[in-house]
């Protein structure tokens, strides 16, 4: 097996002022789009999905062109991809925990508070005075 392709070969920066301006214009345009999309009040999880998709496109533009990942590949791209993978891992398994728990094991929410008996909590002690 040959060496893993982890080292990149630096290439001179291509493109110029024009490319930076085009990326900037696209970023401004996407900002307008995301504000407009929020006004639409999309149902369910779609508002979040659309907003995050637009944010992902914007950040990809910044990373690829402002931060030159388009020109410098190899290990640098691997570092960014790995860090994003671990962000997804952390978030995914934490959310999976709370989403699949017995609901009353989560912090009290609007959905679970109605199960609480009226009156003072018989189990939990009163919070300390300093808080």
């Amino acid at each position: 097996m040959s060496a893993p392709p982890l080292d990149d070969h630096p290439v001179p920066h291509r493109g110029g002022v024009g490319r930076y301006l085009a990326v900037w214009a696209a970023l401004i345009a996407f900002t307008a789009v995301t504000v407009a999309a929020a006004r639409l009040q999309l149902p369910g999880g779609w508002a979040l999905a659309v907003a995050l998709a637009i944010a992902a496109v914007k950040s990809a533009l910044v990373a690829l062109f402002f931060m030159h990942l388009w020109d410098h590949g190899g290990a640098n791209r691997l570092v960014l991809a790995t860090s994003l993978f671990f962000v997804a891992l952390l978030m995914g398994l934490v959310l999976a925990d709370n989403a699949t728990r017995f609901p009353l094991a989560n912090p009290p929410t609007e959905a679970t508070l109605r199960f609480m008996p009226p009156g003072p909590d018989p189990v939990a002690p009163a919070p300390p005075a300093r808080r």
Binding site: D7, D8, P10, H13, G16, V17, Y20, L21, V23, W24, L27, I28, T31, T34, V35, A38, A47, L48, A51, L52, I54, A55, K58, S59, V62, A63, F65, F66, M67, H68, H72, A75, N76, V79, L80, T82, S83, L84, F86, V87, L90, M91, V94, L95, N98, A99, N106, P107, P108, T109, E110, L113, R131
Partner: protein, 211 residues
């Protein structure tokens, strides 16, 4: 390949390898920044999942126009810092310094807007955790939204202030002509840091202001 430059440290074979090492090191540092913010984004995701309506209501208390304005300001500052690097590589140090000063000015605008927002929220009682005083939205999770709002924008703001310091130092160097076509690595790395500050805001804006 240039091996004669005074910028090559003794343990590197040439400037190209050194620039590559610096860039890779900077990306690793940015990865640590991403994972630093990841802790807060995870907390946000969790509490948003638990308190969907409270987060929607609390998000409505934040002025979208302010957030949009700051987004435009930060994106533009990213452009100016990218252009500064571009001009520095062409040997136009003075132009680069001017663009870096413009970036610092835009960062200042960002902080002023942020200050106006903070002052409004503090006055209105939109405060974190046990300091929350806003009877019109008294549901579980509303205070948590503002806890996260202040923690996330606060940590981001600290990065903005630190970035301004870095940019000022780079602007001084560019004005003196320390950087050029052969060696603009500090400017490149400082720029990357500033773009990361922008990247974080690109996600904070929709999550806190829009939805």
């Amino acid at each position: 390949m240039s091996t004669s430059s005074e910028h090559v440290a003794h343990h590197f074979p040439d400037l190209e390898t050194q620039a590559h090492a610096a860039r890779l090191g900077m990306w690793l540092f940015l990865a640590t920044e991403i994972l630093l913010f990841a802790g807060l984004f995870t907390a946000y995701a969790l509490y948003r999942m638990l308190f969907p309506s409270a987060f929607a209501g609390a998000s409505g208390l934040i002025d979208t126009r302010m957030g949009a304005l700051n987004t435009v300001v930060l994106i533009t500052s990213s452009l100016t810092v990218a252009l500064a690097y571009h001009f520095s590589r062409q040997g136009r140090g003075r132009a680069a310094a001017a663009l870096l000063l413009a970036t610092i000015a835009l960062a200042g605008v960002f902080l002023v807007v942020k200050y106006v927002e903070y002052a409004h929220h503090i006055g209105a009682g939109h405060l974190p955790g046990r300091y929350y005083r806003y009877p019109a939205l008294d549901v579980p999770g509303a205070a948590m939204f503002f806890t996260l709002y202040f923690l996330m924008t606060g940590l981001h703001g600290i990065h903005v202030v630190a970035g301004m310091g870095v940019l000022a130092w780079l602007a001084a160097g560019a004005w003196r002509g320390s950087y050029g076509g052969e060696y603009s690595t500090p400017l490149e790395l400082g720029g990357m840091y500033w773009h990361l500050v922008d990247l974080v805001w690109i996600f904070l804006f929709p999550l806190l202001y829009l939805i």
